[in-house]
Symmetry: C2
Subunit: 455 residues, 2 copies
């Protein structure tokens, strides 16, 4: 892609109303555009990153048997009344149509997928079933100040699993956990992301979140220094080892009217390290406190959403039983924000390879001699064409009216993993200068070897 043809206008200053690092950098570098608080457009550069993340997520969902579908954002009030959440779910956008009917904008899809699945699941032979979508969700957020980490409209992958019994759910739940870690690793967040005990879940007292450590996060977690299990602050002072069933769910955790607040810790009792509770996994009481952002969550729902919709199946013994459910959320757009929070320096973003908008950023250095200039340009275009033929997409900064300093600064701000520079000096050696965005040193590589380098 030629930069002169691609609409990237970088900005020196971040918008004053943006407080978060991810929003500041993503806006300055031309990835997103702010429409209103908590509502962003993904510009061509930004959409490339979002799609990379979505495709990573999609591949891992398919790998664990997930079948993709697409459910509506516009959802009848009836469905939400069936579970009592029309009244209790604060973050729901509600609206009325000209048909005088009330609708919710989908903040989650349990109320839609449970009745839908009644048509697909008749007997135990139809189970287990794993359905997921990557779809736009809406949350009526009172405040939205963390860039892509908390928005009113966002991309969400929601997977729902349907089982004949709890044992089957338990096994699949483990599979999803491991698929999630593969996703976070591919997004460059593997080492910063921790499985975290949190409130919610119907079958078990706690649900599991995936929390990525970053100062930009809104959550606080305590990480066991021995086994690396983390515990969300909201349940940290409690006795989390008591793993018996209770009623609550992920979506209600965000509501002010549920009884979540009386389980929140007293703010004054938080230190950098806590020695008091013991880790339910390993027994250690050595914890480290960290700010974090929730990048995924998984829940054993049990029959909480299947029962209200009478979602049953005929078991091998001929008896009708209620389907057991699990649900598993992961937000690609939030993940994009989290990646920037973790991967940046004072110059700009540093995209991990697998989510980067382009593999390499090609910059040419103008020479004083026009014959050399022609040769530089010709070499750059040949390289571009050959790499693209090879399936390697690069961004070629062919802008004529921009100084080299600006080109380098833009490249650092945009954060494509590898920078290729072709100049009179490098051409003399039949080479290009290669520099990784996350390294200081540059190296010369023969142009003929670049094809192998990016293979």
């Amino acid at each position: 892609m030629r930069q002169s043809q691609f609409p990237i206008k970088t900005q020196k200053e971040a918008p004053k109303d943006e407080l978060s690092i991810n929003a500041k950098l993503l806006i300055r570098a031309g990835f997103i555009n702010k429409l209103a608080a908590g509502i962003y457009s993904f510009l061509p550069l930004g959409l490339r990153v979002l799609r990379q993340i979505e495709n990573i997520v999609r591949r891992e969902m398919v790998a664990i048997g997930g079948l993709e579908l697409l459910m509506p954002a516009l959802q009848p009030k009836d469905n939400w009344q069936q579970t009592g959440r029309w009244e209790s779910f604060d973050a729901l956008f509600r609206l009325q149509g000209v048909d005088k009917k009330d609708y919710a904008l989908g903040a989650t899809h349990e109320e839609i997928i449970s009745p839908l699945t009644k048509n697909l699941v008749l007997s135990y032979k139809d189970l287990p079933l794993y359905l997921f979508q990557i779809q736009t969700k809406f949350r009526n957020e009172p405040r939205a100040k963390s860039g892509l980490l908390r928005t009113r409209e966002f991309s969400m992958k929601d997977l729902y699993s349907f089982h004949a019994n709890q044992n089957d759910l338990d096994q699949y739940y483990k599979k999803v956990e491991s698929a999630y870690f593969k996703i976070f690793a591919k997004c460059g967040l593997g080492e910063k992301t921790f499985l975290t005990l949190a409130s919610g879940g119907s079958f078990s007292k706690y649900s599991h979140e995936f929390q990525t450590i970053t100062e930009g996060g809104e959550d606080t977690i305590y990480i066991c220094q021995k086994c690396k299990l983390a515990i969300n602050e909201e349940i940290f002072p409690l006795d989390y080892s008591n793993n018996k069933p209770q009623n609550s769910s992920q979506t209600e955790r965000n509501n002010s009217i549920n009884n979540q607040n009386n389980r929140l810790p007293n703010k004054t009792d938080i230190g950098t390290k806590r020695k008091n509770p013991t880790c339910p996994a390993c027994g250690s009481s050595d914890f480290k406190k960290a700010k974090a952002v929730e990048v995924g969550n998984i829940f054993k729902l049990g029959t909480k959403y299947s029962a209200p919709f009478d979602l049953k199946f005929r078991d091998a013994d001929g008896k009708e039983k209620i389907v057991i459910m699990g649900c598993y959320g992961l937000g690609p757009s939030r993940l994009m924000g989290a990646i920037v929070e973790v991967w940046h320096d004072e110059k700009g973003i540093i995209w991990p390879k697998e989510v980067a908008p382009f593999v390499a950023h090609l910059i040419t250095v103008n020479s004083q001699r026009s014959a050399i200039n022609n040769q530089i340009e010709k070499t750059a275009k040949t390289l571009e064409a050959k790499l693209e033929k090879q399936g390697v997409e690069i961004l070629y900064d062919d802008r004529q009216d921009v100084s080299l300093g600006v080109k380098f600064a833009d490249a650092d701000l945009i954060g494509i993993p590898t920078r290729i520079v072709i100049s009179e000096k490098t051409l003399e050696k039949g080479a290009a200068e290669i520099k990784k965005r996350n390294e200081k040193k540059a190296e010369l590589i023969a142009i003929n070897n670049l094809y192998k380098f990016f293979a």
Copy 2:
């Protein structure tokens, strides 16, 4: 894909509240699920078709220089007030957030892309610019009774072009017209789809629609029998050859409060053929009347949406000028409905090859002898694996508890273009029986030749 693992539950009867052929067949065959009037979920089988169509559209948009972005569905009232459409656009869903701010649900995106583009277009060097998205749109429809042809939530491709002058817009407009015909041809609607003069457009008196002839359509068009240009009934009795500028736009055409009605023809003056007006393209007055569905539209917007947002550029002469715009809509989900309206018979859907959910439907016929059965199954699985390795995705009906008659009926209902049958009889000849969904006769093809057949 194994059918036993894929959630398709066909239904003998169509839901009683569905009147349209496309909704009846798509629901019966397991492609979509009705959530409410005008609101459908795309089941895994249906999403495969929708994605095929979206990818056909995407490729053609990229081929004419389109850059993909993604804009929000949640849109501030301010933007819509700027153009006066907050009040005048009837089909807009309006809602209020907990932030006490009013939002519209995007029915179209001129009000978003015009201010957004201010950041991308500074000088004439940044023009032309072509931005498109494939995104979910919402329309507050008073009635929704045509299945996927008219829904409250739908998939839409909207392309916006930005130009320095009208000549540039005119040239690009022609390019889009030809890209659209490529899309409709790939979707199997090439011969049934006509460029149609309709009301709307800012620079020209008329806009252009693409109308596909089908009894299920809500529009009526008059097709010139000589040059094949069509004219929408809404402007047919008028003098459409007078091509001077006027004020109106595509979106307002759906509103009851604009002055559209006084240009509607008198219903009593419509015959099967009209000899009165002459075709503005060829002068013929031989027209044929037909019911049709609008599958796309293209508009020369001029400065209608750039002026209210002060979208300017500095021209080569140093002067600031208002950007000239065009917009181009095409609905993949509506297209899916239109394809079914055109391509079906009494047994079910007949998908055109390029949009089909699978390339072939493989069915095995049980034999009385279990040794033969094993051989049939082994042959089927080998064929499936080899074809998939070749990139040919097939649906293998491996269901054990279903009769052959049901399998054949399901295959006809689902409408995958090619059916492969392996039985004791075909195996004796080392062959499989191949039948096209749109043909009566079947033929035997040696199994070893099938790989070439599908290459």
